[in-house]
């Protein structure tokens, strides 16, 4: 891009354009993080016999963090979302990629219909999708369970062993189309001549897809994967909505559910703050780690 000479009036304009966003960004992103870090370093101390002498906040060092990290339920929740992510994210991204490539290759009638059909679930809020799939999982109301039963298959979607994957199915259903759309928009940005050249060189559809299209949509693949990793760590509404339907979801099913219950169930804001900080740290470590792993920082600084 062209660089113009620094100019006071122009600098003032730049500040004017940036300021409203930056003020709100500081308020709703930077300040909460600082506040959470601060809160996580204190604890409430009750004075007097029976703790009736009032409360004071005292510096607690890292004790809230050790408390959180020694909580086996919190750790189990982390383990659960990591397992979830290791399986669900690749499956969903693979599915999105295959659908994007098929839609690109088909270029026949019906493409608009299929694209819309795949994308439609993205317009269904996570909680509504969970309510919806919940009805499709519960025996007695679910036509799917009824049909499987009729075929002699006794399937329990909400058992201890299957529940996590039933949730994975809800998330996959919701977001595959969204990820597919991001991949398609990057595919569309690839000049057609590139495909033509490859075809003339004797590449078949499969080779064009794997050797040319996949490397070209790599930035979009990285982007969608990073977003999916962050989304996985935030898992909340699906287990919350399914909770009344099954006894297999405890108050620490995911780290987020645990932090929420810690704050609003146990009124233990300081530990909840420590858990929120841990969650953010893990999210950043995993997303940066992934971007490192794939060798470049996504599309950042691509211009």
């Amino acid at each position: 891009m062209a660089r113009t000479r620094p100019h006071t009036a122009r600098n003032r304009a730049a500040v004017g354009f940036l300021l409203p966003f930056c003020v709100l960004f500081l308020t709703t992103f930077v300040a909460p993080i600082c506040y959470a870090v601060h809160q996580s370093l204190f604890r409430v101390e009750r004075k007097g016999a029976l703790g009736l002498g009032g409360e004071t906040e005292v510096f607690a060092g890292l004790s809230n963090y050790t408390h959180a990290l020694e909580d086996s339920q919190f750790l189990a929740g982390f383990g659960r979302v990591l397992l979830f992510g290791v399986v669900q994210v690749p499956v969903m991204i693979l599915l999105a990629t295959v659908l994007a490539l098929l839609l690109e290759a088909a270029s026949a009638r019906g493409v608009v219909f299929f694209r819309t059909a795949f994308f439609l679930p993205y317009g269904v809020p996570g909680v509504i999708a969970s309510i919806l799939w919940g009805f499709l999982y519960v025996p007695g109301i679910s036509p799917i369970v009824e049909m499987l039963d009729g075929a002699g298959l006794d399937v329990d979607f909400l058992s201890d062993g299957t529940l996590l994957w039933s949730i994975a199915n809800i998330v996959t259903w919701e977001f595959t189309g969204y990820n597919m759309l991001i991949l398609i928009s990057q595919l569309k940005a690839v000049p057609d001549e590139l495909y033509e050249a490859a075809r003339i060189d004797g590449a078949n559809a499969w080779q064009v897809a794997v050797r040319i299209k996949l490397p070209l949509i790599r930035p979009a693949l990285v982007l969608t994967t990073v977003f999916s990793i962050i989304g996985t760590l935030q898992l909340f509404s699906e287990p919350l909505v399914l909770k009344p339907l099954t006894g297999n979801i405890d108050t620490g099913y995911t780290p987020n559910v645990h932090a929420y219950n810690e704050a609003f169930g146990a009124n233990n804001y300081h530990v909840a703050a420590a858990e929120a900080v841990l969650l953010a740290v893990v999210a950043c470590v995993l997303s940066f780690g992934f971007m490192r792993l794939v060798g470049r920082r996504g599309k950042v600084g691509d211009e």
Binding site: A13, F25, T27, V98, L120, G123, L181, G202, N256, A273
Partner: protein, 311 residues
């Protein structure tokens, strides 16, 4: 004709019908002129996927016409005594029409939130793309890091902060965080780099236009495809958001529709009518967004990765 197609066609020789069909398919030309076998596989896979994505929506449509007892007593994939208007009436009048109130709240949160977020993102993205000032890259990198922060990790401390200044459990508690979209700034920046020519800006300035006029008249117009994309993404993001309002709001009059329906679902085992209302309410609530997505489909495709490839 490409070499690949020749081999594929050679393979299908043998059954005359297949051969003819392949030739017909090829004659349609373009990249769609792939061999018949390939097209059949593609179409079958696409159809299976479409079934997966649409069947739950179909179930919701069918079930929204059922009473609570029919929900449990009849086969889920087919209608039973549909009385959509009566049930719609039940939905809209229950609890003094609280459903409509939730709906209006969602429209307010998502509409106002996304509009303000788009404007703020456009201004910030434009400044980061077209002005040269010290610390520009630092600002951009901090904003980008914001994309990686899980929103739910922010919601809890934000609630504590908002409680202290007394705006928890108000419209502001949901609206203020909703107008900030780091991803929107990112999109606007790459789009501005790619689609707002410096020469045009210079020309406008030489003509005596002030910076604000340049932005309002020229930049916003040039960036409009990206702005619609940012607006749509933010609208859906706010509309679908559950954790933030859950944490912030305790007064059910302020609930968006996601929170309201979940509260109904939670009470349903005590009051069976709520099963019918939850399912019907869910169906009515997803309609506007689905219509929005279908009608504005082309905007979901543009702007997203623009610039990253062009430059």
């Amino acid at each position: 004709m490409s070499a690949a197609e020749t081999t594929e066609t050679a393979e299908t020789v043998g059954t005359g019908a297949e051969d003819a069909a392949a030739r017909r398919a090829r004659r349609r030309g373009g990249p769609g002129g792939a061999p018949l076998r390939f097209r059949i596989i593609t179409m079958s896979l696409l159809t299976v996927a479409a079934l997966y994505f649409l069947v739950p929506v179909y179930w919701l449509l069918v079930s929204s016409t059922k009473s609570s007892s029919d929900l449990f007593g009849t086969f889920g994939f087919w209608f039973a005594d549909p009385r959509p208007l009566e049930y719609l009436g039940d939905l809209l009048t229950y609890d003094d029409g609280i459903y409509l109130r939730w709906f209006a709240n969602s429209v307010l949160y998502a509409g106002v939130g996304a509009a303000v977020a788009t404007l703020l993102s456009a201004a910030a993205g434009y400044a980061l793309a077209k002005f040269d000032f010290r610390g520009r890259e630092a600002v951009f990198n901090v904003v980008l890091a914001g994309v990686l922060i899980p929103g739910t990790a922010l919601a809890l401390p934000l609630y504590l902060m908002f409680s202290e200044v007394g705006i928890a459990n108000t419209y502001w508690a949901v609206l203020v965080p909703s107008v900030v979209s780091p991803f929107g700034v990112y999109l606007c920046r790459i789009y501005a780099v790619a689609s707002v020519p410096d020469s045009l800006l210079e020309a406008a300035r030489i003509d005596g236009a002030g910076e604000l006029t340049v932005f309002r008249v020229l930049v916003l117009r040039l960036m409009s495809p990206a702005l619609i994309t940012v607006f749509l993404f933010q609208f859906v993001h706010i509309w679908n958001n559950f954790f933030l309002p859950l944490v912030m709001l305790s007064d059910s009059d302020l609930y968006p529709i996601t929170l309201g329906l979940t509260s109904w679902q939670g009470y349903a085992d005590r009051q069976p009518l709520l099963y019918q209302l939850t399912v019907g309410g869910a169906f009515v609530s997803v309609l506007p967004l689905m219509i929005l997505m279908v009608v504005l489909q082309r905007y979901w495709r543009t702007g997203l990765t623009e610039g990253s490839v062009k430059s």
